[in-house]
Subunit: 250 residues, 2 copies
Amino acid sequence: MNPTLNTILSHRSIRKYEDKKIEKDKLESILKAACNGSTMGNMQLYSIIVTEDKEMMQTMAPHHFNQPIATNAPLILTFCADFNRFNKYCAFRGAVSDSYNNIQSYHWAVTDALIAAQNACIAAESLGLGICWLGTITFNVDKFIEILKLPENVIPVACISIGYPAENPPLTDKLPLEAMIHHECYSDYSEEKINRLYKDKEEHPNTKQLLTENDLPNIARIITEKRYVKKDNEYFSQVLSTALKNQKFL
Amino acid sequence: MNPTLNTILSHRSIRKYEDKKIEKDKLESILKAACNGSTMGNMQLYSIIVTEDKEMMQTMAPHHFNQPIATNAPLILTFCADFNRFNKYCAFRGAVSDSYNNIQSYHWAVTDALIAAQNACIAAESLGLGICWLGTITFNVDKFIEILKLPENVIPVACISIGYPAENPPLTDKLPLEAMIHHECYSDYSEEKINRLYKDKEEHPNTKQLLTENDLPNIARIITEKRYVKKDNEYFSQVLSTALKNQKFL
């Protein structure tokens, strides 16, 4: 296996970090990698906010629901969908500068930002660092817009913590490859197929432990009743929709 | 520089491919890499449609605006945001199965799918293959849903062509790193700053050639007047919004 595949296939989230700053040259390599991905029409519709200041991390932490990784990492990168820079460039060159306040253009910028984010993750891991995504960045998105001073046409869409690993967890239990892969057309899931695809995951020791801790009979009920509950998802969807309107994306 | 950084920093889009199929073991490595990225709550909210059949490529080509890469690559991967599999799993386990028909959950699934897509790109490039994104996948999204037979709660969000390179283009002209990077807070762009950041790009030989071909004075006007025009963006936003509603994401 080549070293790049090895990096990708060795990935697991790291949530405990050594108390050690990321060296300047490593940070620079990560950022260069982030900014070398594909981008819609070479417009580069993203910005990256580098957080190294511990006070900034503390200010953001409650809106990341005080997850330890929000403050225990030496580095947090927040990836924003950004049409502001490109729109300003258009305005200063006498071109129309309001062509991209719509959901299609928003999707391009989200894509650009996420390509950059995943490049950063792989680059960091290739340098011996550990990473973990903070999915919470889109939940309280209005707070992050305020704290990071994001202007119109900029919105955070991804966030990762990076640091030297202080733990060495096993690989995550995933569904078998065939669960996600379809040849030529989508092949839908019968009950028999779902049972077969989820069998190993449901019998995994991690799962057994989770069920005991939560006193619930399966992962589906843990996720829907404890982790990502309908009313919360609807509330945070309202926050996100409002932010998209306020930031003039929609 | 380590081999992974080298792969990432050597990236450029490849649009001409040799007439040579991707070996089964290479395809398997690409798909394994795609499916080993971070994913929201380990829910794996994506599916990948593998297109190798030339007739399928021909059927999809007009909706990719007949870009050559839509038919001249031996392999096309379409990445879908997919809550269908997880919702079915919930339903078959007696859990609530309609918690995720909202924009927040849609964003999680888009993120999962794009992480998978970028992992696939880097894996392919590490194996000596070339890749190019087809941004068109979200334009005529209704057609792709029909052709790929995607059920409710599944929508394509990314598409890449993969093949052995039959061209060796130079690296793309990008903005300098400082254009995308902000420390602690967002630093907005004055006219002076935009002029400075875009200077090298505007003076690049590629740009000079583009301006001559298009008979326009700058890239901003080429993009806004020829490439991604406001009325088209608004039309394709309508198509995307309708598809998101039809697929029960919103």
